[in-house]
Symmetry: C3
């Protein structure tokens, strides 16, 4: 991480670097994509978001520069930009093929330092995005399963687990609109009533709430729900409306 920051500061000493999170598990592209979505939109217009994650399974991913109406994103085409599509209008995607803006020696193993960091730094200096390579049509996108709605039952699953062990599902707040929840279950486990916030959950059993990201979450009062409920990404969650 230090080297990445050094490269940026050497190219643009006035660039200000803000750490987003140090809590992502290696190789967890989905969590990284989720973090990028939920944090990027709060930054000032023109912010360059540098996504440093490990390469995807099996093959080398093309390095990309993605421009939306408000922001720039630099990183590998491994799915990390999946949710940028949900929240922002993408205006340009550029394959980073122009080695002129890379470090002189590009190692096989450290693209964050040798490719992404210098490109991000040159973007902050105002270099035109077309200077960095050739236009691309779209990014690789992770498929987030859509929840299924069958009568009064919505069936979704855990798609993300945050640093506190809260289980974030793919069941969006809009599905609760003007409805009354009878019960929530996860796997074979009955989950407590819907709560308004984390501290509204009773100590002991797990509760459900609409989290700050706009999705149903399963959480516990000051406990790690992932560990205690032995849940994981993919664990099924059902909401029964009355």
């Amino acid at each position: 991480m230090g080297a990445v920051k050094g490269v940026i500061k050497r190219i643009n000493p006035r660039a200000e670097i803000v750490d987003i999170t140090h809590e992502l598990e290696p190789f967890d592209v989905l969590s990284a994509a989720f973090s990028l979505k939920t944090s990027s939109i709060y930054f000032p217009e023109g912010t360059v978001h540098l996504a440093v994650v490990d390469p995807g399974v099996g093959s080398e991913r093309q390095p990309l520069l993605v421009k939306t109406e408000d922001f720039f994103f630099v990183g590998p085409d491994n799915g990390i930009f999946s949710f940028v599509y949900d929240s922002q209008r993408i205006t340009n995607i550029v394959n980073l093929s122009n080695r002129e803006h890379f470090l002189a020696d590009v190692s096989g193993t450290f693209h964050a330092r040798d490719v992404f960091a210098p490109v991000a730094a040159y973007v902050t200096l105002g270099v035109d995005i077309n200077e960095f390579g050739t236009p691309a049509r779209e990014c690789f996108r992770l498929l987030i399963p859509e929840p299924k709605v069958t009568g009064n039952i919505v069936t979704g699953e855990v798609v993300h687990i945050d640093g506190f062990g809260n289980l974030i599902t793919n069941i969006g707040a809009e599905l609760f609109y003007k409805k009354s929840v009878a019960s929530v279950s996860m796997g074979r486990r009955r989950i407590g009533r819907m709560s308004r916030s984390y501290f509204d959950i009773h100590p002991g059993p797990a509760g459900a709430l609409i989290g700050s990201s706009g999705f149903l979450e399963i959480a516990m009062n000051q406990e790690n729900a992932r560990r205690i409920l032995k849940a994981r990404v993919g664990t099924r969650v059902k909401v029964f409306f009355s």
Copy 2:
């Protein structure tokens, strides 16, 4: 964490954000309060300290702005400001009730982003503290047990465990003034002699020293005392003076 920083930078792009620690356990308000005390006083006058911790047990905590002679503190009224009282004179406490300085949509679960971050940012812009809400009398304070002094024996307990596993007690340096220590014990365990610093402790047995926070600590030479001694917050520590 990223979203919190984004909110601040969007309101005041010139605000400089400094991370204090990433090593607090979730829900450990005491450790957070301790960290806030031991780090805040070293910052330049006028610094705004933003305390992002999880909500306290059982009920929603009022968001607060606390002003001391030198600093501003923003965070929940869950005890995190307990030790600010020890080291600084508090001049104002404000209940953050004026939603004008919150994010437009306040979620139930993410006050750090929606309430504390924007208020902290507006404070750095010089907004008058009375603009943020109504004056309050005092903060919720964690009760740190006082050590008991009985003749030549001081009985205290572990009140904080740092990231290296050093056990910090509630026995202050002033209790050692002009006295000579005969022995120190923790639970039923005899602790080695008083040391002048961590590297003065012999490898193997635990030692005792006055730590950088001004309290008696139990520590081991390059080992994690918490893990090896199976100590926890509340474990009893005795000092026998000769």
Copy 3:
């Protein structure tokens, strides 16, 4: 960590503080030295590198200021500057003996806050390096074992393990120059073929590659090689050339 930053900002509010890593194990001076080497050289000329690590075994280490042609380094003389020698020409070493540039009360336990941080801050203000103490001849250097070359076999060992569990050896890239690798082994375990990068390693067995630091590494496809191979610093690695 917060207090260290506070001290710096109070002395030089314009100093910009960049975190390098939060992932070093306590007391692991070798990893810290390695991180310092691989990150420091990417920063702009004149950068002050502040190395905050725990004290070395057994005795108090002299606080030092080390100047190279491009940078300043401040920290304890415990071996952390070992690899600065490899990559940069050291022009001055100063024993930090002038207490004038320390905090007023120097605790026995927290030199990073009381000695290193204020000295680093005063260096950024342009204070002459000779003001901080008396010249020294050299730093304490960790002995990194040299690999042994016997005919077509190079025998080295793991000298560093990074945050992803990749095992970095002391076998430098130059030993592979114009040679063809027949096989690589670690302990009794046969390692897969040489790969060009991490994502070139097949899922399952471990692979070997020349890492971004210029040394042979043993790694696995999206797995933690340290944990799965039960390797540690000192584990023997052999390369057989054909």
